[in-house]
Symmetry: C2
Subunit: 208 residues, 2 copies
DNA sequence: ATGCTATCCCCCAGAAAGGGGGATATTTTT
DNA sequence: AAAAATATCCCCCTTTCTGGGGGATAGCAT
């Protein structure tokens, strides 16, 4: 499977775009089939370009990269898209990943990293620069000093998944009153007095 | 800040452990202060070892790596831990990340990748091998073909965060009856008839 | 031995949920 | 321009759930 990878660039800065183009074209099995200064310019050609991988900037005139991402993904579901941008705020990163980006690189990435990333996402993999990996990993980390006990956490987790107290009681083979007891303690510990506030507080503090 | 990085290895395979030890000790600013065949052997020495980074295997006799992870994190909060294992199932990866791992590498990682990872996590960053990045990124991707409208998704999302219909109505400046209408349609589209089932189905299908 | 945890019990009023049945205006799609 | 989808609002109703108050008890860990 040493096939030529068809690549499309969408990047508004002429210098950067041409730089990436020559960088990627120098790789034996890469072929930059087209390079556009915006998504609006690219959209009518993407079907025929039929790229395996698109390198997509976020900031550009007209439809921006994050807006374009789901549109492209729907039109060309098998195309893998790498966001290539100077921005690395958590909001942008999560937005891009939920919308189907296969990679997220910041523009300080080395040539080798970019080439690796293209190869990686072309097989359905994931690629991100270290600063992005940092953001993503931090989003997973739970607070290890939660005031909630195991049981309380278990119950709050189920509440956050929409289960009612009777349902929880049933699932855990305990009485509704026991669930109620735990919930009371959860509310005291989190200093709240409603389901919504408990979930909100617990998520903010990463207890669940 | 060109300080020597103090490193501890916890890995039960003698050959592999010694291999990593010599690999890392060959790096100028790295110092493998100790290497143990299990966490149970390591635990009484970790405080004095005072490592900046720990490379931690999952599979080992006695307390395994994932069990040890939160314990170490609590005892040495400023120590950054990299999981180094042959396993890369989503469950293990998520477990490790939520428990505070700063990196997750599989053992097919190159020497350069491992060295990079140690450096990266020592500054609080994140490091993962490409197969792990793949798992993590896929966990973020939403289904772009949700049957739910924007408004319905917004409302279901709020329900999943514990808000009641009156609260949602208030936040969105619409009538409770409107919220009710949307919820009815959500239930029909998802073929459910309760909050819990709606959340469950929507999460499974990645609509929210 | 004291505290924390998990379990269960009762009272109560008010709130919320979910199943029906609609209507209407605005958008979007065709 | 017509048809479909969406977002908004209205009424009926019963059942279920919630949260606040007051407890008790057995086991486990420090």
């Amino acid at each position: 499977m040493n096939q030529i990878l068809r690549i499309v660039l969408i990047e508004d800065d002429d210098i950067i775009r041409m730089g990436y183009q020559s960088l990627l074209n120098d790789v034996d099995d890469f072929n930059v089939v087209n390079a556009y200064a915006s998504y609006d310019l690219a959209k009518k050609h993407l079907e025929t370009d039929n790229p395996d991988v698109i390198l997509l900037d976020i900031q550009m005139p007209g439809t921006n990269g994050l807006q374009a991402l789901p549109i492209i993904k729907k039109a060309l579901p098998s195309t893998n898209i790498i966001i290539l941008t100077v921005f690395d705020s958590p909001e942008l990163v999560f937005e891009a990943l939920t919308m189907g980006a296969g990679g997220y690189l910041t523009k300080n990435s080395s040539a080798a990293k970019i080439i690796d990333a293209v190869r990686e996402v072309s097989t359905g993999g994931g690629a991100m620069s270290t600063n992005v990996a940092r953001i993503v990993m931090h989003s997973f980390q739970k607070n290890l000093n939660s005031p909630l006990t195991k049981r309380e956490t278990e119950i709050l987790d189920r509440i956050a998944n929409g289960q009612t107290k009777p349902q929880i009681a049933n699932d855990l083979f305990i009485d509704q009153e026991t669930v109620r007891s735990h919930v009371k303690n959860i509310y005291i510990k989190l200093d709240v007095n409603s389901k919504a506030d408990a979930i909100k507080t617990a998520k903010e503090k990463r207890f669940i």
